[in-house]
Amino acid sequence: MDRREMAEILEEYLRNVNVYFDREKEFPKGRGPLKTYIMEAHRSDGESLDHRNAAKTLAGIADANGLTVRDTHDEVLFQVTKGEVGFFFDLLDPRFWVVHTMSNIEQCEELFKSLVETYPHLDYTWPSSGLMRSIQGNGKSLGFAVDFDETQIFAAPESHLIDEPNAVVKFRFGGTRAENWLKELESFAPDALAFSMVKFAREDQATGSYIIDELNEQGRFKAAGNSINLHNQTVSQFLYSYRSFILDIERAARIRSHGHGEGGGSLEGDPLVLEFPKPLRSFKTFVKELVSCRTPLKIWGIVEEVRSDFVQVEAVDLHTSSRLRLDITPEYLRIYLGPEACGNTVARLLRNLQSHVDSTIKLHIPSESVPA
């Protein structure tokens, strides 16, 4: 087995699968779409992986979870199986693993969920709504799902919900009129358009090849069509954009110092600020839920109240185990990343705030705007 053979197998499979992804559970075995997961991995001590220890990390995870890993003729490509479930793990990028599978989605999801919960050094990718839409924009829009639910964070009494215009917005559309529907939705729920799925097609008219891809909010693709190359190009574009986003966060925002230990040194890194487009209406509830250790935010924190509308938090992201400090007001949330913190922490926080607070929240990563 090598990369070419894998591509042949996946392309053959792609041609036979059913394109109605939403009804995957009804399909007979082997007719569900190709799934490609993008996972983010570190060494267990939080350090970056290189090719050699990425393979070792995979082997360690597999060992502990009853998975069998088989080498291929490509040194960064592995076949992984457990019972009826099988994967191709592509560790070409030792940090962002691309995992293809033709297996049953429920079993795959269950396995990944358990691995991510157990290993703090393994995480999903968390594309923002904007990134998902920009990937969709590279093809022809075929559908989307919006999943916004502020009641998960602001558990208001029902009497309050009566006056709340967009507390829960769940909408799923499939078809070529996706963009028309979106324009409609934007007019009455502009701050609740948290995309949980985007679907799109790409084609090459010269060769007659095409691919229909669906990307979800945890970096999982579903695909059907006749060209694995087009699918791989789409995955590659996503990977490039997401990786750049994460590396930009880490480069700009990890606050770290360099010195000789005798006093004096440089201090690098800027805090990140997430501005809430409109002030949080229930500040205390938000803070309490943020540090409740529960999903979706999964942050541990000690809150110090400075003013009734301003708190400082010593925090830990229970997903990636990154050490953080936060300043929170109803208008903004300032994030100080520790020297070894993972950019995925910010991506996940942004993603969850878009899904549960306001879909228009944006992250501004400081860049060198003024020449020194």
């Binding site: 770290r256 110092s257 006093g263 440089s266 250790c293 000690i302 185990s321 705007s369």
Partner: protein
Amino acid sequence: MSRDEQSFPATIQRDLVPVNAVIGFLKRDRKWPSALYDLGYRLAMIEQPVSAAAVGTAEIDVICLNHKQNHAILWECKSGCTVGEKQARVYASISAEDVQRTGNITFPHAASASVEPVYCCLESDCGAVVNSLKNLGLTIPVVSLGKQAVLVCGQLNDADASIHFARGINLPPLEEVPRFLIANTQTPKSGLAGPFFATIVSFLRRQTGKFSLRHLLEETFPDWECMGTDLRRHLSSVAREIVKDLCENELRDFARIGKASHSPNEIMIEFTVDVLGHDASMRTRTFQKLMRLAYEYIERTKENRPYEPTQAVESLWLPGLEPEQN
């Protein structure tokens, strides 16, 4: 404005505000003005000792460098209203050559480099600071921090910076200053309890079997590598005290103190539970319990009272995580 008028909430360490404010001016925080960054200055060093020949040595709080102008500003960020005479005379005498030779700063053009000192203090302290400098016969510019950052005395050699600060730069409430430096020798033990506890929890989640005191300090303080030896010694000593206390009390069923094999005088903290070996809901409850323990610890540290195991705490034990009885 009198001193009382510029009061801070009890949780804010007043003496860290000026230094964080100046570092903030050199950073790109959307909620704090990048006043110096926008003028082309970049943070070069913090807490850097610099010696002026025949006068003495001072630890410069912040040195920022403008590459285009080949010019550096040396900031003394006053934590109160008193001005040390020797320190002020050193600041006033430091030359670009001193900054290069003893402060390890590289300028684009060594021979034509220039430097100037500026004092920064809270608005309520600025009258006293200005008078003290005057009485010493020193003409060091002073920037005060209140609703605005404003040049209240003297002029900067950098004309752009001088105009900018003379006009005044609007500031958010000072307690919202970005927190780059979180501790100094004045920080009370209770102020350090939360940051240390949080770092221990991150190690626990990371499945770090054991960790050293040094690792705890490096992860807790972003400026650890820049700190002078006195501050390092002080924080190490408080960290050791806190960790020992926690391992014997609130965290006794989670962690214990061990000795480093390579250096018997150094302590290592070893975890004795595998939090990740449990299902997701039990893990969540364990971390919630750690949060309650953290608050209890901070509270008793503030009140300076010894640990008293309470029924309430014991009852928080989760099935499967009870302490061993032997």
